[in-house]
Symmetry: D2
Subunit: 343 residues, 4 copies
């Protein structure tokens, strides 16, 4: 199966991240085209990626025969036109939020895609792929908690750029909790109220921060969200579901914690080595593959424990087995590493 050829439109912070992601961590895809309204930035980035070139016009990039699929990391106001071009060329597109910047154009895009007999547009609400949110969703979809009733969320940023205004707290921050609510509860939001408490003295003058969003879903579930983007602390995204037979919370830096039957609180111990060390194996192998690629130049085809490390472990375990049998302390016998130049 040949690699998917991807065009990334918009290579600011987020788009450039996606270029690195697709080039070095994602299997089965490569970036063949980049585009940015600052043409130089795209040119420079393209030069660092083998087989990638910059195309100045975003619509040309979408239409290019060298492009199988598109990532949109461009500013929101350009999304409508670019999405419609993707639909026209039947190119799958991953679109960073927002879909478009207003409701009517968003609805237009929905309708245009619906007219095709295929789904081409995915929106970048990435929290659905976070393992904690996925675990919370799985918990809600099971029987354990019963009917969900209330959702408490906190969304805290240490700081925001100077251009961030009060409405962006709704459009750029709350939007994630809007999708989280819809994802977890599987229903639409019927009403919303934004409360503006006494503002944080450390917030820029004029910024209504924190804000509290109170939402109600179609079936009457309550959702509250603390939005606080000038905390000065760190990135805290917390979500708690209170349900008929228990509650569960994620985002406390301690995994998913649930409270439930028997009056207990706690989490799940990682059940096996795959869950505990799967990330480690992936990282190990990716770094090893990268090191082998580099090794043609460096003469070192490793990036991790060496043969010496394997030898040392063997020496200790051999002494350990001897102690297991004798019950006595055993000295570990090893050659002096300096006697083996190159080891």
């Amino acid at each position: 199966m040949s690699d998917l050829r991807v065009a990334v439109l918009g290579v600011g912070v987020m788009g450039a991240d996606h270029v690195v992601r697709l080039s070095s961590r994602i299997s089965g895809a490569r970036v063949t085209v980049v585009n940015d309204y600052v043409a130089d930035k795209a040119e420079q980035l393209a030069a660092t990626i083998p087989g990638c070139r910059a195309i100045a016009d975003p619509l040309d990039a979408i239409a290019d025969p060298d492009v199988d699929a598109v990532v949109l990391a461009t500013p929101g106001p350009t999304h409508e036109k670019q999405l419609l071009a993707c639909l026209e060329h039947t190119k799958p597109v991953m679109c960073e939020k927002p879909l478009t910047t207003d409701v009517s154009t968003a609805l237009d895009v929905v309708k245009r895609e619906a007219e095709l007999s295929t789904r081409l547009i995915q929106v970048g609400f990435m929290r659905r792929f976070d393992h904690e949110y996925a675990a919370l969703k799985a918990l809600l979809d099971g029987d354990e908690l019963g009917l969900p009733l209330v959702l408490h969320c906190a969304h805290r940023n240490p700081a925001v750029p100077p251009s961030f205004d009060s409405a962006m707290i709704v459009r750029d921050s709350l939007v994630h909790e809007v999708d989280v609510t819809r994802f977890l509860f599987g229903e639409e939001i019927a009403s919303i109220q934004i409360i503006k408490p006494q503002p944080n003295p450390a917030a820029p003058r004029g910024l209504a921060d924190p804000q509290i969003a109170i939402m109600r879903t179609t079936s009457g579930k309550h959702v509250d969200v603390e939005l606080f983007v000038t905390t000065g602390i760190a990135y805290e995204v917390r979500t708690e579901v209170v349900a008929e037979r228990g509650s569960a919370m994620i985002g406390m830096d301690v995994g998913l914690v649930r409270k439930g039957a028997g009056g207990t609180w706690g989490g799940q111990i990682t059940p096996g080595f795959r869950e505990r060390f799967g990330q480690a194996y992936d990282t190990e192998f990716q770094r090893w593959v990268d090191a082998v690629h580099r090794g043609r130049n460096t003469g070192d085809f490793t990036d991790g424990p060496s043969a010496w490390d394997g030898y040392a472990a063997a020496a200790v375990c051999e002494a350990g087995v001897e102690s297991l049998n004798s019950g006595q302390p055993v000295d570990v016998q090893m050659v002096d590493r300096r006697t083996i130049p190159g080891a």
Copy 2:
């Protein structure tokens, strides 16, 4: 840069995992050859991987011109011969532990690699790549904790296969803590003692389980390891370093927890969205790329939030901004999804 062509030798549980890993999650590599002493198993696996074939003899697989690098997941007793073949053909090799099954052959391998002017052998101590161990290592390498003094470890498995004997607890379980000790402290282990307490009534008759390993490093640091492989609970791997100016613990299912200056305990809040949601972005993109590949057959090029989800978020945020301005609850206006067939 063309993909690294990898031969995976030994496709039991672990080797088959590595084939999937290299084929579907690792960028820049693909599996071209698989081998197993059960030839059928290798044939069947090869048939599922595009561009991959089975080779019956492991040494032929290593020598094959279609192979740039080798993964050894074969039984330990075959490692020596296979590693030497890799060295002979100058092929980089990722070798699952143990390097070899006894100290003298392990030392031979070290010496043979040292005679070449290149590093080709990496040993699969994957814990070094786990983010918690990496964070603990970084903490020890910094100034905060001062000189490390004591290491407490627990290594608990819910169960082991019937063939598992008392010595395997040392060779297959303790071996990881041996490498962890050497990795964290950067020094060799000088002596070891295995204590056999009253055995677990639930352990198979004759298995000395739990065991306690007491180790001493060359500079006199103390290490103790509880090895308990029949707990019936889950997979618990815990490591605590006690140092001159504080202590830190990982593996409690709550991230790295440190105790230190000011008499406080706690952890680090994830500092930003990259640390918090990096995994989610990677998963999102890998699943999207896979969905686009599949889409040629299914007509659905997405695996995540749809255009409708983007529209719904826009509708709620628009109402939210209205409430931000008015201070009043605002009903969310959305079209009925059923009026747009295909949405």
Copy 3:
């Protein structure tokens, strides 16, 4: 200093608890009079307390010359009259909430006490004396967190009596968070809104449960309270303050957890043995004093570790010191306990 002679009015669940508390755990007080509108209940309880008698009329009990101070655990509607009687007789009174059952009579009581040149009435908002709330208050009164901005509370009961109605969730449950808010923030509450989400299917028909209270203080601080009294789980009372320079949370069964400078989360390690074991010392001594009182009858003047336990500890420590010097394991030498009848 002679013991304070206390009358306890109302000896239902709560009042009876207070009688035990004053009789057996509180130094410097004893219960001389009990009263209940069910006269038999008071008579029976009085019979179990040395020097205590029942008085049928609550106002007679207040006026009794044998009474220095009064505890009111009577139903709310009787409080007004009883409080005024205490003021008239200048008797200090600890009044369980509510002060009175409506605002105008409560204000009357405030005014009557204010006319005296003394403070006689204390209201039983006991959370102010909880060590976690006290620690949270101390944290807020210090400089670390800066200006408090938002208060999130959850108040969850496993179940309520059949007579509990929707308004009692406000009057009997929320009332505690009302006092907590005023205690922590030191300001009054200016407005309140109660939100009724989709009710818990497990709640009695007609009970609006859960409820969400949204309050705003005079300076504009936001307070939200989840009130949920039919969780079926346990007693969960949680309070989180979000402030200018950090946040702190209590009631998670893990002590006070704060998030703050440096992007860290965590708590305080108990600084010394007094903080860690103060409760143990108090319990140890109370139980010893009680055992000595009982010993006149039982012949056993202890309720804890015996002389044998002291001997055994000495034997182990002596062996430990020998091992400290020799570095070798040392067998502990002890006589056979059965050779000392009575030990």
Copy 4:
């Protein structure tokens, strides 16, 4: 029941604490005699306690007819003589550890008490009364965990006095874990080994710190204890039992945490208001009783929420009930506190 009249011998830090404890927090006892080898210290302390006097000779204090029971907080070497005097006068005695300073005199004391047909001596191993140790003991005595197998302990002090030597780490620190082991497992300790790792650079020269104690009980259970008395951090006393069907840990500043069936970790949510706020009620009442005693002088018979606080709560709840009915925000109506002088 008249108060127990207690003599406290030795009024250094610990003894003086016990005098305060018995005088102000323990019901049913009072201190009538104090003694110290520094006579002035005893005199000065006696002067602050109503009805208490100093007696210069400890044996006279024990014999005094005004003394029902004795607390020994004197130096260890004096214990033997004082304990024998208590036995001779048939006076119950609470003896701070050690019972005596060597094994043979400890055994003598055991034998002398055993010859009487009564138990008079209790040893001050106060951890048995700590609620976490009590919860751990209760857990072990139940069926849930099955046979206990291994005990891991850590005993960390921030600092020790200059006079503290290596043997005192065994005699004064480890002694507590010795008793904890015997208490939790209900069996004697058969052997002990002390390991001296590389010492903490911050420890006084010559002090072997940290130390590791390895103990084995009569049935073969393994116990290890990290003793580290110069951590510079705080007071950390941690105990973990690993058993046949799960494990449990206390002393992590987060309550008792267990790991067990179903592969879960966590703790118990406080089941009800008595468990959650029992301490708060006790503190509230003790402080109120003390305030009423003081009120005769101060004119303020309260130490907590006032009538105004009760009024304010009533006003908010009344508005809350109105909002419950209307669903709308309701302004809270309160009089201006300044209009009621004295409120």
